[in-house]
């Protein structure tokens, strides 16, 4: 049993609650117990009487009146802001003005409410109640088991085979049948991920559709290119096609032989073309570090060595950027000699198969 600190005698009031954070014991109206209904005895470590009408400024009407004026003026500011908001909206609105007025309005409203609660409203933070019992009684618990068994005993013991051997398998079959149409929710992707919009003879064009001459990109220059007629990447068929055309000048490039024995060469004139779709997670790779001849992806910092056939040298990218074989037409325009020889972009389960 704790030592209860005796409170002031009846009728005697203190200006502030006692400094200790201990429940106040003041005679007054009986505080009802939590959840257990009136008349139930209190647990013996909880005082029986609590004053539910006390608040800090109850005995000081002058201070209470002053507090009311403070709250009223705060709320007057809120009202003023409301009018201001109407005017702001009427005259066309401006984000900072609206934000300031809304913040001031809500802030003053909240401040007024807070002062009201802290100084002028009863029910302060030292009310004690009982947690009550949220468990059911042992009799109830036994009764619920009995209610359930009323059904399950009958369903499973004598007619067990109806439920266990018929209903469950049939339900399973029907459940699978109900889920079956999900398979047609998605489009069949077929060979989609294995091809882009590039085809043999497709001319390279820039973002505005202008065909690219072999002489357009200077040494240490980079340009984003698309297959002719496929510059709109909102169309899914075009989204994997963007490529970067780089002029590496006189540097030699290492040719990479793929697992399947394909050989990829670079197109001469110092021009090489690689897929712009990162093999890690699909962002557009085109940060070009001229000093180290690397392409960097801005999303997760995968770094590809251009002279090593865009092999990844840092970061999470697992595979090199696929290369687009280039050709130069007689009138000087660049074209692709074929599609990328391997699937572009991030990996997927069936990627290991032949292109």
């Amino acid at each position: 049993m704790e030592t209860l600190r005796p409170g002031p005698a009846e009728g005697e009031r203190v200006a502030e609650p006692p400094a200790a954070s201990f429940p106040r014991v003041v005679t007054g109206t009986h505080g009802p117990e939590e959840g257990a209904g009136l008349g139930t005895p209190w647990p013996d470590d909880v005082p029986p009487d609590q004053d539910d009408t006390w608040y800090p400024l109850k005995d000081d009407p002058y201070k209470a009146r002053r507090m009311e004026y403070i709250i009223a003026s705060l709320w007057a500011v809120t009202g003023g802001c409301g009018i201001g908001l109407m005017i702001a909206y009427w005259t066309g609105g401006q984000a900072q003005v609206e934000g300031a007025l809304l913040a001031a309005a809500f802030g003053c409203l909240g401040a007024g409410l807070l002062l009201w609660a802290k100084f002028l409203l009863p029910g302060q933070g030292d009310i004690v109640g009982s947690r009550g019992e949220h468990h059911s009684s042992p009799e109830e618990r036994a009764a619920v088991v009995a209610s359930l068994s009323r059904g399950t005993d009958a369903m499973l013991s004598r007619r067990g085979f109806l439920v266990k051997k018929v209903l469950v398998p049939v339900g399973g079959i029907f459940g699978i049948a109900a889920l079956w149409p999900i398979a047609s929710l998605g489009p069949r992707y077929g060979r989609f991920l294995y091809h882009t919009a590039w085809y043999p003879g497709a001319r390279l064009v820039d973002q505005f559709g202008k065909p690219v001459l072999a002489s357009d990109v200077e040494v240490d220059g980079i340009m984003t290119v698309f297959p002719e007629g496929h510059t709109d990447t909102d169309i899914p068929a075009n989204a994997m096609s963007p490529a970067v055309l780089i002029n590496i000048g006189g540097d030699t490039i290492v040719e990479r032989k793929l697992n399947e024995g394909f050989e990829v060469r670079y197109g001469g004139n110092g021009l090489v073309c690689f897929s712009k779709i990162c093999t890690h997670a699909g962002c557009a790779v085109s940060l070009f570090n001229v000093l180290s001849m690397q392409l960097v992806c801005p999303c997760h910092q995968s770094t590809f060595d251009i002279l090593e056939d865009c092999k990844p040298v840092f970061g999470p990218a697992p595979r090199p950027l696929p290369q687009l074989p280039l050709g130069v037409s007689p009138d000087g325009y660049l074209f692709a000699r074929s599609d990328f020889v391997e699937p572009v972009g991030p990996g997927f389960w069936d990627r290991g198969g032949p292109a």
Partner: protein
Amino acid sequence: MSWLRATRLALARGRLAGPAALVAVSVAVFSTLAWALPAPAQPKGAQPAQRSMEAAGVTASQAAGTVPVSTSPAEVTAGELLYDDHCESCHGVGGVGAKGPELLDVGPAAVDFFLSTGRMPLNSPTAEPRPGPPYFNKKQIAEIVAYINFVDVSHGTPGVGIPEVAPACARQTANCPTLSEGNELFLMNCAQCHDASGAGGMLSHGYVVPSLRQATKTQIAEAVRVGPRPMPNFGPGQLTDQQVSAIADYVYYISHAKNRGGFGIANFGPVPEGFVAIIFGLGLLLIVSRVIGNRG
């Protein structure tokens, strides 16, 4: 007792120390952030590089979309003197190269860019060129540009001329770039390194991509044409003069336009935004909770 006295008492008793400390820390952190992170640049006066041309008495003509460089012997000689004092130790006599690269074919745009952005002269040959306050004044820059131009022309490789940036038009016509064209070009060619807002970024091997928000239009156009390493260059076959102007106009526009939504917090995107939301937004609300609730 009055609320003022109550506040003072509570402070003395240390009860407000916690919230007060929290407020002080939040204010300190946020102010430091606001001060340390660059705010949107304010519009400046005429561009220094252009002024250097005007100061040199050169009139802009429409020849080939570049700003002509002075060829007066007085300027070239003055430039040579400056070059011998400040540049020869790395770039060799007459620009043939030594510890630093040769300058026989760089052209006036490169020289103007590196000098006006303060990247050159370097304190040591192995230092990485970084933007900063220019070492030379506009007249001196014009003189050095004139000298190197003279050297390059004499060598037979004139290099990239200083681009002339045409102001943006409302509607696109021939020779008149629009902001919209600049926007499309910038987002396709420049944003991946310099950030869509021009705030800068990061390349491999520790190269910092600088912010564009303090650059002049001419400097931007020069950088696009020259390709100061590790930046790639964009030649006339790839971008016309009008397109380069469009990019320069657009970058200048977004660097100086007022942020419509309010304070830009460095224009770096979700990272500083998250910082503000957690530290400032939720922090403020936790202080509010502290005031509303009990402390026991």
